[in-house]
Symmetry: none
Subunit: 412 residues, 2 copies
């Protein structure tokens, strides 16, 4: 199945918004064996959208449209779709009921703008959007499918996962395509590629390996395509096992698992309680841990000691230590761990202190200097990182490194 992506919105053309939707959609479409053959962005103008729809269906089997839907005036996408298909509009009571229910949850009432929003092109099949008021629209005419979704990322992602991808798989059955994704943390893409060079040279023809790097992590996605599903599965499992043998120190999970989920499972197996003591990560480490549903079973809480006063007052770090070696030091994170174990009464604690930047660096401790400690009452381990100059990246990378360090400590 060939797919063309069409993105609508002036905000994309004046550069106010970076289009992250397209990359996300392309990855999901790849996952079901579809091929994205092109991508286009047009302004909020009916005639431009109509022309782009024509170009799209000429080249592709499917055109996925995002943006230009919503309760306010710049809602031109529906007009363009009705023009493109030469149909009129009908009022959708179902959509109005959904919007009214959705708003009543938020303690609000449907307005005239919401009522206007319920007029839909006659030939649209509506896709229920649980994340917002504007439904998706599915069109299937002359052998070509066009789907229109809101541009708000979490609404689009919900509609893709719940409605669009399953329908596309049914509408355009593809020869089997299987994936097996291994998750790594702790090494960059190029050094992993170095260690997998021989394996890559000898991969069976049916199997491809892709590197999907993100901050502090690299996903290794094996894809197998061919006629015989059992054989493909055997090949995938075989290559995945080889990669596991080559990277035993780096692989922490597979598919959609996260480091924080894996850590959560390890803690629950041991029936251990966790706390964090954070300085430079400013709560981001605790946030990552608490994104996992049920994390209250093993996570008790944190002290975010951004000021030295709180490092001393709430975590019992000695003022002499801060005077002698400073807040960003191995000794300080050790004392932060000891303080968290004691005062938050947990079995294991993680402490982080560093200079996130852009200010605050010195010649001895430049921006990006980070110390991490993990410890139980029996033992403590520490890790030193030297990162870059970007504040947000430093915070995020440090949290990933701390989670991975915690995971290894738990497995030790």
């Amino acid at each position: 199945m060939k797919v063309h992506l069409l993105t609508i919105g002036d905000e994309l053309l004046i550069g106010q918004v970076v289009d992250t939707n397209s990359a996300w959609m392309a990855r999901q479409l790849n996952g079901i064996g579809a091929q994205v053959i092109g991508k286009e962005t047009v302004p909020d103008l009916v005639e431009e959208i109509v022309a782009a729809l024509r170009r799209g269906v000429e080249k592709a089997d499917v055109v996925l449209v995002t943006g230009g839907l919503g309760p306010t005036k710049d809602d031109v996408t529906k007009k363009a779709l009705a023009t493109f298909y030469e149909v009129g509009f009908v009022f959708s009571q179902q959509t109005f009921d959904h919007i009214s229910r959705f708003l009543s949850f938020l303690g609000r009432e449907a307005s005239d703008a919401h009522r206007d929003q319920c007029f839909m092109p006659q030939n649209a099949e509506l896709l229920r959007n649980r994340m917002g008021t504007a439904p998706g629209m599915w069109f299937d005419e002359a052998g070509k499918v066009v789907v229109s979704m809101p541009g708000v990322p979490f609404e689009m992602e919900y509609l893709m996962d719940a409605e669009v991808l399953p329908r596309l798989q049914k509408r355009f059955p593809a020869s089997p395509i299987l994936h097996h994704t291994l998750l790594t943390a702790g090494e960059g893409e190029s050094s992993i590629a170095e260690r997998l060079r021989d394996l890559e040279d000898k991969l069976p023809n049916e199997v491809k390996l892709a590197y999907l790097p993100s901050l502090g992590q690299v996903k290794l996605r094996l894809t197998a395509r061919g006629a015989n599903e059992d054989e493909l599965r055997r090949l995938l499992d075989q290559e995945a096992q080889k990669i596991r043998d080559l990277l035993p120190d780096l692989i922490f999970g597979r598919e959609e698992e996260t480091l924080e989920q894996v850590v959560g499972v390890l803690l629950q197996e041991r029936q251990w309680k966790l706390a964090t003591a954070e300085s430079c990560t400013g709560g981001y480490l605790a946030h990552r841990i608490t994104t996992v549903a049920g994390s209250s079973n093993y996570f008790k809480g944190s002290v975010i000691a951004y000021s030295n006063e709180l490092k001393t007052g709430l975590l019992g770090v000695k003022p002499e230590t801060l005077d002698a070696v400073g807040a960003v030091s191995e000794e300080t994170v050790r004392e932060m761990v000891a303080g968290a174990l004691d005062r938050l009464d947990v079995d294991i604690a993680v402490a982080v202190s560093g200079i996130a930047g852009p200010g605050g660096g010195t010649p001895e401790k430049p921006v990006g200097t980070i110390w991490i400690a993990v410890g139980s009452r029996q033992r403590v381990k520490t890790l030193h990182l030297q990162l870059g100059k970007d504040r947000l990246k430093n915070i995020q990378f440090t949290a990933v490194a701390a989670l991975n360090f915690l995971r290894k400590f738990l497995l030790d």
Copy 2:
């Protein structure tokens, strides 16, 4: 001047790379009064690129091409440009000398691949690239300009700043385009549209208004286009002021500001120190506050009291309160604020407690029940929210609502 952006690369179509170049280019082009009228991405295939070039010059005065240039493998862009203009290639000694010098700086020598790189379409004017080996190419035929640049962001940015933007300004002296963006929090897109309906109906012809919603926030972007820059600025300021008068309770800033930055400025003006006491947000509120560089000037830290034991032990919430009305209650967040003011020794504190979900709801307190309190030693205010079922959305929305509630408290 109308500009079309053409991006080349398979990596963009499989979602391996998010296209940040286009947004950057669009902002720079806007700055010189150019209007980006469309954007297209095609794979590394000569015929696809040629067809896209034809579409581009048909619609726009200028087509800016990025990607598909470089010393390795799939260098198809130059072939496509030569095909498009029906010209041959010439060897550029100047480019070869530049590449040789550039590589010698890196202690390397020019390879055959680099020599091949020096064959250029006959009608190209070469633009010197100080950041890499591949020069930019400027074509000016039949009244239309086509520029080709490498896709590596810092090479493209260098060429745009040093060569392309100044040349375009000379080649197409432009009529101005101005933007003014107002930031709101606390109401949805449709209820804002309701309040601005009259204003929208009476907007001057030169001015357009667009709504850009994200979780808990809506950006209002005014755009003015016309011949007289002073007059446009006057119109924009006048309409922006009208919107400020209509939405005094919602507008917290303009352009690229964030709620956490605005809160930081208010705290610094008052020389107040802030702390948070968080349960359901699990550190995300502290994280948002500490993404701001220099936040250590006003943010002392947090207690993330995920367990009731820590609410009592570290924040002094009374066990009787927790027994009587539970952790998710107005009384508990009041006591959390009092505890944070006292034990973290700050001037103002924010407390959050709620049921983020998906589990933990009851008939009286369903998932999405949230209590927020903000207080100083003089007064405390509380806010109740009833949100949806999505854990991460609830955490993020609560943090935005808490920051906005804190902002209003500071302004009171």
